[in-house]
Amino acid sequence: MSLKHDVRATGAILPTRRTDDLRGEIGMVEKPRGRWLPFSPWHFVLMPAAIIMLVPLLWVVVTSLETLAQTQHFPPILWPGSFQWSNYPRAWSSVPFGTWFLNTIIVTVAVVISNLLFCSLAAYGFARIRFFGKTVAYFFLLATLMIPIQVVLIPTFLIVKQMHLIDTLGALIVPNLANVFGIFLLTQFFRTLPIELEEAARIDGASRLKVLFRIVLPLSLPALATLAVIQFLWTWNDFLWPLVTIFNDSHFTLQLGLMNFQGSHVNDTNLLMAGNVMSMLPMLILFIAAQRYFVRGIATQGLKG
């Protein structure tokens, strides 16, 4: 083999790209691209799509800064000229916004934490422990994903009522302590982890639970973060279930409370939107903070490379 051939085989003389440009692209085959644009032509499709997605959000923000008269004007006013920043303190003080905020945080945090814990435990069982009827149990569990919430609303309500939890925050927490989607998500992720790591830990003296908490969960941060974000979103935005189970406005969540601005006799759209923006903020922050967990897992780094 000639020296020239050798060098080419190692990729050392790739003409235009340095080797560190290639990080994260191992295994990807990319078609060489003409350089007539500094970006992919797909951007011409994606950019308008992104703008269309953003319009409703921007409209919410704009409306929250308008006067009531401006919100009722037709055609809609997209630039109010002067911003009514006072809408925000008004929305906050005209209703028990702080209480609702706190209620929502309590419910969401409790549900997210319990889901992370219980879904992990169940998923580990399904992913790794052999037991009688596992496949059938998993099948039926997944089948419940197909049942719409409207079907189970009344039975769940009756169960919660028997537990004397109606019109308490417990009614919002207890039925949601674990959910099937979370079990499914984590089971599939746990199955992709190299089993040798768990075997090594068991030989090293760890019990099943320790293997789960010391080895499996730390390696599953991307999946756990995904589950946490999704669960946070669902719980934070849930409207139907709180509407059915909560009557006293001191136990309202934000989504339920925002309804106060929009009734048969009042329709303070600008205050409603101000409340909406305030209720969206925690989720935006969460998304920005947790974004990196979606990018890449670290699970395979301990194996041969």
């Binding site: 790591l197 075997e199 730390p218 301990g302």
Partner: protein, 372 residues
């Protein structure tokens, strides 16, 4: 005493597939035993049963005086090095080394002291704060060994630990492993398919094939006296040459090789000749011989390997399928590998006349494969 005893151990996977069949074997206290065989022969399954990662279908395994069939892995006091190392990716080298000790609630001072002396022994001090992803193959290998050895286990299990290393590093780690064992004297079971590792590392080797133990003995004994055709063909690199032959009137005939061997009954046999058992015919060297037609010559520096063929007879011998691949033979030619002095360089296509010392020829029963 921490000897390991396999007593009629059988492992059947659902399917059913028989992975290990009636394995009986004793590993002495402090012994270094090699389990060797081709892939799928059951050697790794046997090891995993000792570790507690596979249930034992039948029979018992004892460590010391205790039967461990139903003891969970964490209570067996056994350490294992995996083929792919299985280092915990989210922990530093230091945390990896100390993991087992932390599980056993070892006091912090003792833990630190043991982790650091193990790191010193294996030359890992500089790497303590790194994670496995930042280590080279050889370093990961060392961490994996350190993690297993740091708690001074009763039994040390290794599952092809060197197979992911490059050739040079493998030779180096092989010597290091041997030194380590001489120093620590822990009962060790080592699984490999590499018969160089098998020959060099072990006090004894256990050759397995198709779930069964074929032969157990000191490496040199197994090499010199293979119990059957499988062992003869598996141990040794390059492997033993095997020819179909026949015994007639106290003489063994195989192709154009004929020699006398007393005390044999007539019938079909397999004739085995080690590549180094063939010598070029000298002036004062009459006797039985073979004419090898040279196909390929491989000069290796310290020796020359010649691959060629010899005349053979098709005796229509029936041999079990797994052993049939060992007999590379057409109707009238059989493959033959010869090891020569480095000064010799036969030309390809020529014919080499070689002397065979009848005393070094192995004979196997053609129907059972067992050594005669």
């Amino acid at each position: 005493m921490t000897d390991v005893v396999f007593d009629h151990v059988t492992k059947v996977y659902p399917g059913p597939a028989l992975a290990v069949e009636d394995l009986s074997l004793e590993v002495g206290d402090g012994e270094f035993l090699i389990l060797v065989g081709p892939s799928g022969c059951g050697k790794t399954t046997a090891l995993r049963m000792v570790a507690g990662l596979e249930k034992i279908s039948d029979g018992t395994i004892s460590v010391g005086d205790q039967v461990i069939n139903d003891v969970p892995p964490k209570d067996r006091d056994i350490a294992m090095v995996f083929q792919n190392y299985a280092l915990y990716p989210h922990m530093t080298v230091e945390k990896n080394l100390g993991f087992a000790l932390r599980q056993r609630k070892t006091p912090k001072v003792e833990l630190d002291q043991r982790v650091h002396s193990m790191a010193e022994l294996l030359g890992l001090e500089e790497l303590m704060k790194r994670r496995p992803g930042q280590l080279s193959g050889g370093q990961r290998q060392r961490v994996a060994m350190g993690r297993a050895l740091v708690r001074e286990p009763k039994v040390f299990l290794l599952d092809e630990p060197l197979s992911n290393l490059d050739a040079k590093l493998r030779v180096q780690m092989r010597a290091e492993l041997k030194r380590l064992h001489q120093r620590l004297e822990i009962t060790t079971i080592y699984v490999t398919h590499d018969q160089v590792e098998a020959m060099t590392l072990g006090d004894r080797i256990a050759v397995m094939s198709a779930g069964r133990l074929q032969q157990l003995g000191a490496p040199q004994d197994v090499y010199d006296h293979p119990a059957n055709v499988f062992v003869a063909g598996f141990i040794g690199s390059p492997p033993m040459n095997l020819l179909q032959g026949v015994v007639r009137d106290g003489h063994v005939e195989a192709g154009d090789l004929t020699f006398a061997r007393a005390g044999l009954q007539g019938g079909e046999v397999v004739v085995g000749i080690r590549p180094e058992g063939l010598r070029p015919v000298g002036e004062a060297d009459p006797g039985p011989g073979l004419a090898v037609k040279v196909d390929v010559v491989e000069p290796l520096g310290d020796e020359v390997l010649v691959h060629g063929s010899v005349a053979a007879r098709d005796a229509g011998v029936q041999i079990e399928p797994e052993e049939a691949t060992l007999l590379v033979q057409t109707s009238d030619r059989a493959a033959m590998t010869v090891r020569l002095e480095p000064t010799m360089r036969p030309s390809e296509g020529s014919t080499l006349h070689l002397h065979v010392d009848p005393k070094t020829v192995h004979l196997f029963d053609a129907s059972t494969g067992a050594a005669i």
